[in-house]
Subunit: 368 residues, 4 copies
């Protein structure tokens, strides 16, 4: 079955393996008339590019994106936008060792069970490198959302025991810290911590968060089309994510209704603009946006590739002990933050496009 | 847009409001030749039926399901199965009071913003009563899964501060306790706690868990079709769920790779059957089942309907204080457990049907 | 797989068999705020109702539609509209004879091959009675289209050798003639012809046409989303249709480009409104509407149920000769005309809803 | 909206414009384990390649396909197969003339109306060149079908007044004649006829047919998922097709039931293998294959690009007369035949994959 397509109206289809010739995405359903060049997309890819700091894999990839179709004289035409990133550093080593056994925490075993064999070079399609296509497509979604007044921002909330302090939240820090934390002090502590982890040839997990600002109320659909359901799918589809929270998330299960409900209020200085006194709900009620900030949190497991010896089995069904070589990050989160931002953008934009047909009066306004 | 359809091959479409004439579901894509009568479905509906204990709303509904199509001489024919439950207790009171304001924690405001108005009787389509259709369809999915050796079991893990003790896990208790806890001691404590909550005219949240046993390895698809992504969407689409975890879930974000990876082992007493020494992953690696138990956890917010006075605004844009009347549960979890079980079943079954076409050799075996 | 759902945004799911308890449809994605009662739908169902004239089956069905959900105080709410028609005349005879063999021209054999058995009462799901759900849903689509200035009209073009004369085209005649022809003279000739066919215990085929007026230019999508491709699927999905033409259809294959191209012109009396000198294209160029009349033509085979003796085989694999009893029409077309009208409406409306997101400027206008 | 995706399980997404950098397709849902290299695909592309004879455009394109992902060591892996064809001859002329007006019979006007502007170079996305992606994907579908015993063969039935004689049907001729006719005599006559048409600077239409052999009974779904409905959409989505017939097609509308029904028979020399005495139905009954040959016919309009002077309007709303320059075929059919073959293959294969889940017994056989 076709698991590589996402979205109903703004629909993307990604392709490519870690060590194939290239990776890419086809974006179908992008509205016509958006100014778009590679320069709009490249900065997003650069944020997830390997080899940029001490805490990322040393694999060198330029990750230069090429627009192959769907634009004309600098504007989108409404037809599919094909984006491609060539792999340039994929032939650097021999993977025959990992071909024969199943790396713990990876998808080696499950791909073999499903398909009968697998592309074992660097994880093939199950590699985090697959997200290049999502990010390229997400960059377009972010640009459109920006034009509609919707802004999305993801960041590292914690790495292992080191947490960013939200009282020191600094949006600029996200792009300037190695960890993508919004807090320079926490970033420094996290970098020191990660050095230790690297020395211990181990890895660590972390938490990332994403905020959506400026989304009008009324976006999302009832029942299975709930905006939070769509976001949960989108974020959980990022490799290594094991939990997704909306708003106060897990904390609500221990709460009383009297302290968890957000009172509606009239925004100060306005006549009748509705707002909420608190935002435990994370901007979504009954699956539909309420005009408040959307807050999503994702828990990411430690990089499964570690240099320490591990017990596993080989394809012949023997128990063995292995030590995995190769290039890998001690933590996934800092590079995954932009993926979370992009998956959120893709989900939100598609919901906004679907929402255009919610009411007869707007239909009549459009066509009459 | 059409948010009431779920699934690709085994596809359900639910309909109905809390206080309309009826609720129902159309199940399309059910394989032909399954023995099916109302008696297969009714017990699932009975588990979510209101009015059965002190901790559920006192609304009286029989929730008798009727099969309107899709079976012949007791077997499914492969054509759509239409299931309907008539509302019988829906006209008991006057809703004109809540028509004019937005209940905190409910979807009143967001529905109004999206559609311009709403069916305010008992929440309309955003009512938990909407899940009757999901449960009726899920009962069919559970029956099919059972025939394929896959068993699904959801239960209450905690209610407010009261947690079930997994060392006392007792599957029978789930159906016999008022709270759907798998632990009689915790159930007793929880019932006492809920009495206090009711007296305080407040409500409380809780945690529910779901286990899938017997699922073969290889189910789920890469990238956006990941089994955990599908489950996250399915479970987050249940009203009041604010967080979804797979396996160890949130706990992984604080872990080291060396302690989070599950070592592959050969199952004792077998030649080459692969298993895992631990199951931090919750039975899913790279979005595909690994043959181990699938574990999903959902955090449910307190019932937003409480009798305490609350601040809110009305449709005229004035700040007011309200006290909500009517019948509601002090906690949602015990009745939502069967909904979680059914949404899990629908997701798992659809993934198993999609998996039929994963390999050329099975295609050839089927057609040659 | 789920073949009973049609449409992307305005999405319908039909259910029910010829001789089951009821038939129906769930309409999901209907915009909120449309005035809607049973009285909007019933006239469409009445047009395909059996037992109304000498040329239709004598089965008596009231075909009273009931709205079970999705409206509130007379307006659509944006949530699924469930429509049901009870079967009342379905238990009138013994079908055990046709259970054992395959009626020529029917789906008996193919259903058995696919599903292993079938509901043989009156054709089960393959009965023309299945279209009740389509028509009920199509009535809603027609009402919405009417509010957007789009009008759809289907009629009988020919029955066997008797053709309506387009020079005598009279829209009122369609609803007043037994044959649904737009020409009273042809209707009279056709009725006489059909009397002969009935006496000969035979049946006959015919042609139906459908015109869409008022559709703006720009509706439909390139490549697989072409408006004519969608219409072809929609119309070919009506049982007994064996060919679909758009505009001049089959005639174009013998033409020269110089006589088939439609010259663009400026509409007389306007400044710059584009029109075409001719409409060989039938209102669609490159899969997208050009603002002209859409013309679709469908060729319908003779009713396969005839009273004459026919050769066939039984389920035991023996060659036999049979004579089919029961109630059936000597011609399908007059009752299928409203089905064509409704399938066209469903296709056109969905394309119009999808078109809302075609351009950045309209997106910005909606959200800013 | 996203109109460039086709199929549910075997799902393709095409991209690219006539004069962009490249064209391509992503094939998602291809079963794993199929031997696949560029050599399997290239012959199909060569059949639609321009510049190969007197009756095709003189544009020179190598149309070399490149597999960018989805295979490993010569076999499909189950993950998306990305195929690309670079445009090499696209910058040869100045298109500024046609940018300003609407060519009759082309999609220029409708694209402008939909999107606000268009890529006017060679028709952009509405060019027949878009089908390169379909053909590349279809080649894979054909290979899979071949392994399942299903063979598809399309050919030119007529060009203008010149018809192939089915009594001289010669499968080899299809690949060896310039016209793709299965009849050398008709090919010779057609070539002479086309020379005249070229001299007259005009163009002509034609008919193509497609046969599917070896398809088992039971493929296709009831109601909207009918195999013929899917084929009608697939074939009508090919640019320039204005009518689609199944089996005897249009002819059935003038027939009596007694002569149109196909009698079921037991195949000579077998015990109980069901066959039909005739095949008016074209191998499909009730939307499901009956085991007989599937026959589809498509009517193709004359190439709209002709050198003769034509009346039209420009973007400024003025009536003008134009003469179109450039390279174009006097007839589309011979190069479209392989597109029809591929669209048929994509439809049939997807229906076969969907059919895997039709019955409980096959599900149990697969999983138990």
């Amino acid at each position: 079955m076709a698991g590589s397509t996402f979205g109903t109206i703004f629909r993307i289809t990604t392709w490519g393996e870690s060590h194939g010739k290239a990776l890419g995405v086809v974006v179908d359903g992008c509205p016509a008339g958006l100014a778009l060049t590679e320069a709009d997309i490249q900065p997003y890819l650069d944020r997830r590019k390997p080899g940029t700091s001490q805490i990322t894999t040393q694999r060198k990839e330029d990750d230069q994106v090429e627009i192959l179709s769907g634009t004309f004289e600098g504007f989108t035409t409404g037809t599919p936008i094909s984006l491609m990133v060539r792999n340039t550093s994929q032939i650097s080593r021999d993977y025959s060792d990992i071909a024969g056994y199943y790396r713990p925490g990876h998808a080696d075993y499950t791909f073999d069970q499903k398909y009968g064999f697998r592309d074992y070079r660097g994880g093939g399609r199950s590699s985090g490198r697959e997200t290049a296509g999502r990010v390229a497509a997400g960059a377009i979604a972010c640009k459109i959302l920006g034009k509609l007044g919707v802004h999305i921002c993801a960041y590292t909330r914690s790495l292992g025991p080191i947490q960013a302090d939200m009282d020191r939240f600094d949006r600029d820090a996200i792009r300037h810290t190695v960890t993508a934390m919004p807090d320079y002090q926490a970033d420094a502590a996290a970098c020191a911590y990660l050095e230790e982890i690297k020395k211990a040839t181990d890895s660590v997990g972390g938490i990332m968060e994403c905020r959506v600002e400026g989304l009008p109320a009324g976006i999302g659909d009832p029942v299975f089309g709930k905006l939070d359901a769509g976001l949960a799918r989108a974020i959980m589809s990022i490799g290594a994510v094991k939990a997704v929270e909306i708003g106060d998330g897990c904390a609500v299960s221990g709460r009383l209704g009297s302290s968890n409900n957000d009172a509606f209020r009239i925004r100060t200085g306005t006549d009748a603009q509705v707002t909420k006194a608190t935002n435990h709900a994370g901007g979504i009620l009954g699956g539909i946006s309420d005009g408040d900030q959307i807050l999503i949190r994702a828990h990411v497991k430690p990089t499964p590739s570690i240099y320490l010896p591990q017990d596993t089995v080989n394809r012949e069904g023997q128990e063995i002990t292995v030590q995995i070589k190769g290039r890998h990050d001690p933590v996934i989160v800092p590079r995954a933050v932009v993926v979370m931002e992009c998956m959120t953008a893709l989900t939100i934009l598609d919901a906004m496009l679907l929402n255009l047909s919610a009411r007869m009066d707007s239909l009549e306004q459009f066509y009459l």
